[in-house]
């Protein structure tokens, strides 16, 4: 029978199931099918801190949300149009986010009375009418999958495991996704177990055909490719993008990359990714703790390498003292903080922006450190390169802020050409620079105030540096009061001076008559941008500026802030950037804050902005 095909401009799908159901994998596959099809997309993985919280429980639910469209989009979507729920818990945990009319595909095999109770339902939601407002698609995913794999000689467990591929197949049919990439992916993944590979491919195909043949699925949907600027694209999430940025910076600077890191969610994947690229001369060192990780990176920098350390909030706190040493030694060092929910262990797998002030002030003494932040998954690549540029040019530790949402979320990325990447080559000191032919390790470049980088192995430049206050120029230990005052101010001036190397800010104020400016930083870029679009579509003018540099702040920011009647600063914290802006520019900025471990919803922000605009 010929089925109806509807055309849509955008769809939000959420896959939800047990931690053990492979929802993240399913989402990843659907994402790359969607990417290669040419839609614009944005994803939001969301999983518990436990590895496999017990099956069927609410805490065990893992989900993956994907937003794809025929036009460019900025967020993973506020609410799912389609929810795939592999069990009662998955349904219950996500139901609240469902708008009326949404499609709900449930795996009926898992709706046993026990499972329903375990999820905390009083009655069976499939029968008590509590889902009436949705389009319910009840599919016995498990049993159908097992039946489909009858002739394969694999365990029942393995057959059942393949149900996520069945679901993937079904949705691939519903949305006309290309299937080849998934099939070859499965063959590769299970290369060592051909039978399993074949079974998963079969399950995937079975799901596809199930949609094609079952009455219940009367309609399929088409979402045309998005008209992105021409070029070669790939899908990428923040952590690999950051890792690639570091490798690229290493290649463009000609310095070997050394990563000193201790595993921590959500930063570990950067270590994992870099460990796979030794061919690029990348050395990864899994240290005994975060202090050793940053210490080793600093030692590598002393030796002329590009020293990098990666962690998340709690680990960054531990690195504080060593970052202070780097400030005093004035050596290049890149410290990546993939922020997560705090305080303390907090919410390890959730996102947050609450380490900004720690990055700026989390050290003893006056220890200024430049801070940059990435605004989207792919932007992690360019932000890493910018962090390296600053570290190498100014001989300073730099903090790069990303977060759990950027780390795991993904988006299409127009692959840059290597030649367009900045030239980051540095000049090591080779000759004595002192008036009497001696070497002065703290004689500064008049423009950047950077000190010479003289690496061991350079004859005639033997010198000693340390964390005790140093005399100007010579770097010898000095307790002189005026010298200390001078050195403290000079280190500050060096960091402040970085602002001179920054491009003018891009203020997005299409109509030019906006009275309200929204200022953001980091991963709120997507939701803020999407919200501004909504506001403008509603006929209200609003301006947006997004900061990549948090320290120093761009020179033109003050003037821009004063141009507007109201400044709104949405942050996933209690108002950290807002505080900095108020202190620096004495502007009465309005903070809009949420600390929910999740990205902002564009719709919600739009309402907030409208409120402020109409309030002016």
């Amino acid at each position: 029978m010929q089925k109806e095909v509807k055309r849509l401009d955008r769809v939000v799908i959420r896959f939800a199931g047990d931690s053990g159901d492979g929802m993240q994998l399913t989402g990843d596959r659907f994402t790359s099918e969607t990417a290669s099809f040419g839609n614009d997309l944005s994803t939001l993985p969301n999983f518990p801190a436990e590895i496999r919280a017990p099956a069927g429980t609410l805490p065990g639910v893992s989900s993956f949300q994907l937003h794809f469209a025929d036009h460019d989009i900025m967020t993973p979507g506020d609410a799912p149009d389609v929810l795939v729920a592999m069990n009662p818990a998955a349904l219950r945990a996500n139901q609240a986010d469902l708008p009326a009319g949404a499609t709900v595909i449930v795996n009926t095999d898992e709706f046993s009375t026990r499972a329903i109770a375990k999820a905390g339902y009083a009655a069976n939601p499939l029968e008590d009418g509590s889902l009436d407002q949705y389009q319910l698609q009840a599919v016995p995913l498990t049993s159908t999958t097992v039946r489909a794999l009858a002739e394969f000689d694999i365990s029942k467990k393995d057959a059942e495991r393949a149900k996520n591929m069945f679901a993937l197949g079904l949705l691939s049919w519903m949305y006309h996704r290309p299937t080849d990439s998934t099939i070859s992916f499965l063959q590769e993944k299970f290369a060592r177990k051909p039978e399993i590979a074949a079974a998963n491919v079969a399950a995937f195909r079975a799901g596809y055909n199930y949609g094609d043949t079952t009455e219940a699925f009367a309609v399929s949907y088409e979402v045309k490719p998005a008209p992105l600027p021409p070029g070669t694209y790939r899908n990428i999430s923040g952590n690999p993008a950051l890792a690639y940025g570091l490798i690229a910076a290493s290649q463009r600077s000609g310095l070997p990359l050394f990563l000193g890191a201790y595993p921590i969610t959500p930063a570990s994947d950067i270590l994992h990714e870099l460990a796979r690229h030794k061919r690029f001369g990348v050395r990864t060192f899994q240290a005994e703790d975060e202090i050793a990780g940053v210490g080793a990176a600093l030692g590598a920098s002393f030796g002329g390498a590009l020293g990098v350390t990666t962690s998340s909030g709690p680990g960054i706190a531990l690195k504080a003292e060593t970052i202070g040493l780097a400030v005093s030694l004035e050596l290049p060092l890149v410290v990546c903080d993939i922020q997560r929910g705090g305080p303390s262990t907090g919410l390890p797998t959730k996102t947050e922006q609450s380490d900004l002030l720690q990055a700026l002030f989390g050290r003893n003494g006056e220890a200024p450190v430049p801070v940059v932040a990435a605004k989207s998954p792919s932007d992690c690549f360019f932000t890493a390169i910018e962090a390296v540029r600053i570290a190498l040019t100014y001989r300073t530790p730099v903090v790069l802020l990303s977060d759990g949402y950027l780390a795991n979320g993904s988006e299409p990325w127009q692959v840059p050409s290597v030649d367009d990447l900045p030239d980051l080559r540095v000049d090591f000191a080779r000759e004595p620079n002192g008036p009497d032919g001696e070497f002065l390790p703290y004689l500064r470049d008049p423009e950047t105030l950077a000190r010479p980088w003289a690496v061991p192995g350079t004859p005639g430049l033997e010198h000693r540096i340390g964390g005790i206050e140093k005399a100007d120029k010579t770097g010898s230990i000095s307790y002189d009061p005026d010298n200390h005052d001078f050195m403290v101010r000079t280190r500050q001036a060096k960091v402040d001076g970085i602002a001179r190397s920054l491009p003018p800010l891009e203020v997005d104020d299409p109509t030019g008559d906006a009275k309200v400016l929204v200022v953001g930083w980091g991963s709120t870029y997507g939701p803020i941008g999407a919200a501004c679009r909504r506001v403008r579509r509603a006929g209200l003018p609003v301006a947006q500026v997004h900061l990549r540099h948090l320290n120093p702040l761009p020179s033109d920011l003050g003037e821009i802030l004063h141009r507007y009647d109201r400044v709104v600063v949405p942050e996933m914290n209690l108002g950290q950037l807002a505080m900095l802006l108020r202190a620096r520019y004495l502007v009465d900025v309005i903070g809009y804050n949420q600390v929910r471990g999740l990205p902002f919803r564009a719709s919600e922000l739009a309402e907030v902005f409208k409120g402020v605009i109409t309030g002016v």
Binding site: P230, G303, G304, V415, P456, L461, S476
Partner: protein
């Protein structure tokens, strides 16, 4: 071995040395500066990295590359340097507080990893720079500013600790015994991998005379056990004392008046694969220094962390040239040709 014609003087800096007059650190500095020319390594390829403490001021006085870092972290910092720069001779200078208190974890891990570091632990059994609190090597019951009624913690035996941490080279020597100190440095420098050298050092301000038993002419020989690989372990004024193995317990002990040909006398084997022997040796002395073995307890060859890592880099490179463009593109790309549709 050196054809660089360097002398001790070449390793002195213009910085005036700021230790207390009479501090054992002076002797160690002189011994190290005297030994350096032997290394046969040009000054620019030598790096001294220290933590914080009186002892940790050491790098400022060596005319090489140097870093006076922060308390306890020198082994970690040196690991990053040695791993990226196998061409350098990297030395760590640390104290009993720096290495065993705040820095204990970094030390242990540096030893098990066997990165190519020479770690000189200046053990004065006290916190010098902070004016005299007890340290992890202070004898139990020690009265200090922070322990007016006496300290309560059983001290570490740094040799035992290092062996328990899989150290491939462990030795002990004395600040005032220049010849012995330099002999140990020679062995440490020759060792491929991490070497821990405990140097008994007198703090004449806060723990004066801590090691006099092993220094005074009239007690020295009776209490010091000199270890020489391949030699029977005999000591004492007239060489009548010896380290013997108890046939039953298998443990090591000291015997007096041991006849020249006594078979029980242990022949020192620093290269023994099983660390149990070196560990047993380390237990001959407690913090009272009664019968203190001096010299190289253990020296076994094992692949170094830096060596293996750089070998992995080489292998990775051998399989294929680095291709940045290829890395960025990855395997899953698509191309957009047309621009905005109507």
């Amino acid at each position: 071995m050196s054809d660089l014609k360097l002398t001790a003087k070449d390793f002195k800096t213009d910085q005036e040395v700021r230790w207390c007059p009479g501090c054992g650190d002076y002797a160690i500095l002189a011994a190290v500066q005297g030994f350096m020319p032997e290394l046969g390594v040009p000054r620019e390829n030598i790096v001294f990295i220290s933590g914080i403490g009186c002892s940790s001021r050491f790098p400022y006085y060596m005319n090489t590359y140097g870093m006076h870092s922060i308390h306890g972290r020198a082994p970690a910092i040196a690991t990053g340097l040695a791993t990226t720069r196998p061409d350098l001779s990297v030395w760590v200078i640390t104290g009993d507080g720096d290495a065993l208190s705040i820095g204990g974890n970094h030390l242990m891990h540096a030893l098990r990893r066997n990165t190519n570091l020479k770690i000189l632990l200046f053990d004065n059994r006290i916190y010098g720079l902070t004016k005299g609190q007890y340290s992890p090597t202070s004898e139990i019951g020690k009265i200090t500013k922070s322990t007016p009624m006496g300290s309560l913690d059983t001290p570490f035996n740094p040799i035992s600790l290092a062996i328990g941490a899989e150290a491939s080279f462990v030795a002990r020597t004395m600040d005032s015994d220049r010849k012995h100190l330099q002999g140990v440095l020679r062995a440490a420098a020759a060792h491929q991998g991490a070497a821990l050298v405990q140097i008994y050092q007198n703090c004449n301000i806060f723990n004066d005379g801590a090691f006099d038993l092993l220094k005074d002419a009239d007690t020295r020989d009776d209490w010091t056990i000199r270890l020489e690989h391949g030699e029977p372990i005999r000591f004492g004024r007239d060489g009548a004392k010896a380290v013997v193995r108890d046939g039953v317990s298998g443990g090591l002990s000291i015997a007096e008046d041991v006849p020249a040909d006594d078979p029980r006398v242990v022949v020192h084997d620093a290269h023994a694969a099983d660390p149990s022997y070196a560990f047993a040796l380390s237990r001959l002395s407690g913090s009272d220094l009664h019968y203190t073995p001096m010299g190289v307890f253990r020296s076994v060859e094992r692949d170094t962390y830096d060596g293996m890592l750089n070998e992995q880099l080489g292998r990775a490179r051998a399989t294929a040239e680095p291709d940045l463009a290829g890395l960025l593109a990855g395997t899953d790309t698509w191309t957009v040709y047309q621009t905005r549709e109507p």
